[in-house]
Symmetry: C2
Subunit: 310 residues, 2 copies
């Protein structure tokens, strides 16, 4: 068996794919699943709600595509590679929840689960921009800002599975914008798609999404251009902090906002190099994902197929 | 043979010790060796100057204490555990310098060499405050601010040996104090002994060293107290950034300034917890080194005795 299912779980949608060893998508679909939109008040109810939602979304696709392993990228913190969800900022009732094991019982296949941004890092290192690199810092620029780290070829999760809270690195030290985590000045409050559309609305009076802010910038709107330039600057600052700690040579970036690469990348590199210690300047490669939205699904497929290798 | 020599190399002094497997100091001495005070202009001359200085300082102690291994903690970046110095901010002529191998030829014993702050981390994890922890972030508060990281029991050096430039994390984003590395707003520009004495001189008009600033604070001088409190705040900020990336539970701090622990630690913890994401708040232990100035020597002894184990 060299085919696995992969699932990439978002707040409102869930993507599923049947993927082979070469990373080729043999089938795929997108299912609506409003995981965080529930009114459950007990842990047990919340757990069952999530399991129901995942089972209902995955079972029909699994029936069409029978496999023995599924890998899941999920927005939360996992304990090592145990498949146990330590916690999830968007689903606060779930704590120390054996997601992989419980879902495995329901679907009657083996389930592996890991943080979504770490899955994207794993996919990028195996099939994408980080191919051949044993060390990789991967940044996802979506509704939020996530990070995944590969050290010596191994996904790094930290002591409690909470490593690489990249979006919550502080990029503005005083009077910074407020962030969903409760702090101020976090990268996510400046460089996520949500922040870009908010900042554009504040300055232009136009309510729109980050994709259209990018189009405005391409059409010569200076407010939009400036906001995307600043997005690059803040990303450069945060990457500099990570590089000063980790001495990592390759950084890859995926996600919707990374489509504005030609506007974001030049200020990012300038700010990154300005903030590094001199011997590291000019030595760091920051590259655009070659997998884009599929990085997470491919990484989820990798964690599923690792079970087959053992 | 269960005894090794250990050397801790500073800018003006060099400490030597004969240490046994239990971390007991059997003999020790301090030698003046002005390694960075030379007027050499070629790489070859600078290398020989350093080798001469180290040989002259170590040979007499080695004669009294014959051993087969010496471990050296040196202020610079090393490639993995090869003993090759990739570079040193204070000795810019030295690059890709096979320090361990060249010194081994001169002294006719096996030489291991590693970054001084990483040696302190290794010593602290083996014999000190980090004993029994497989993950440890260690911070040295001396003339500069250094950092060493142990992950899964293994010293982490990064791709070019330049990991854990902890003193150059940026703690002030705009109009920060200038740092020796050429940037502004680095932790080292606020929390090193040098920075503490400079900031005190600027605000009080009194030229003195960090040890006396601490004594002023103990005697009720509010300028001195405020500066040490701010030192704690900046340390807390920088540790928060490292924890958000690495999810490390235990942080130890050594070095002269850490003697002001009762003034530094409370604001440090408050600022650290304020800046963490909520699920990590209250979970991080920041502890005072139990080895103090000896952490680096004990770590150097560890890297020397590892050669005997292989």
């Amino acid at each position: 068996m060299d085919r696995v299912l992969a699932a990439d779980i978002g707040g409102t949608n869930l993507r599923l794919a049947l993927i082979n060893r070469d990373g080729v998508f043999l089938d795929e679909c997108r299912v609506e699943a409003r995981l965080s939109r529930h009114n459950k008040t007990t842990t047990e109810d919340a757990e069952n709600y999530i399991l129901d939602a995942l089972q209902n979304a995955i079972a029909p696709f699994l029936e069409q595509n029978p496999v023995v392993d599924i890998g899941i990228g999920f927005p939360g913190f996992f304990r090592g590679d145990s498949g146990v969800l330590a916690g999830s900022p968007n689903l606060p009732l779930l704590q120390e929840f054996a997601l992989a094991e419980r879902l495995s019982e329901r679907l009657s296949i083996r389930v592996s689960a890991q943080n979504d941004a770490l899955c994207a890092a794993i996919g990028e290192q195996r099939y994408g921009a980080g191919r051949g690199k044993s060390n990789l810092l991967h940044v996802t620029l979506g509704t939020g800002v996530g990070g995944g780290l590969i050290l010596n070829g191994v996904p790094y999760t930290g002591e409690r599975g909470m490593a690489m809270e990249f979006g919550h690195l502080r990029v503005v030290s005083r009077n910074g914008r407020s962030c969903g985590c409760g702090n101020h000045g976090c990268l996510e409050a400046y460089a996520s798609a949500t922040a870009v559309s908010q900042r554009f609305a504040e300055q232009s009076g136009i309510d729109t999404d980050a994709r259209l802010v990018y189009e405005y910038a391409c059409d010569g709107n200076t407010i939009a251009s400036e906001i995307l330039k600043e997005t690059g600057l803040y990303l450069g600052l945060a990457i500099a902090e990570a590089v000063k700690l980790l001495d990592i040579e390759t950084v890859s970036i995926s996600g919707g906002l990374s489509h504005a690469w030609h506007l974001i990348h030049p200020p990012l590199m300038a700010e990154l190099n300005d903030n590094l210690i001199p011997p590291l300047r000019g030595k760091i490669n920051v590259i655009h994902s070659t997998l884009d939205d599929n990085a997470g699904l491919l990484g989820a497929a990798c964690i599923a197929s690792r079970r087959q290798e053992h």
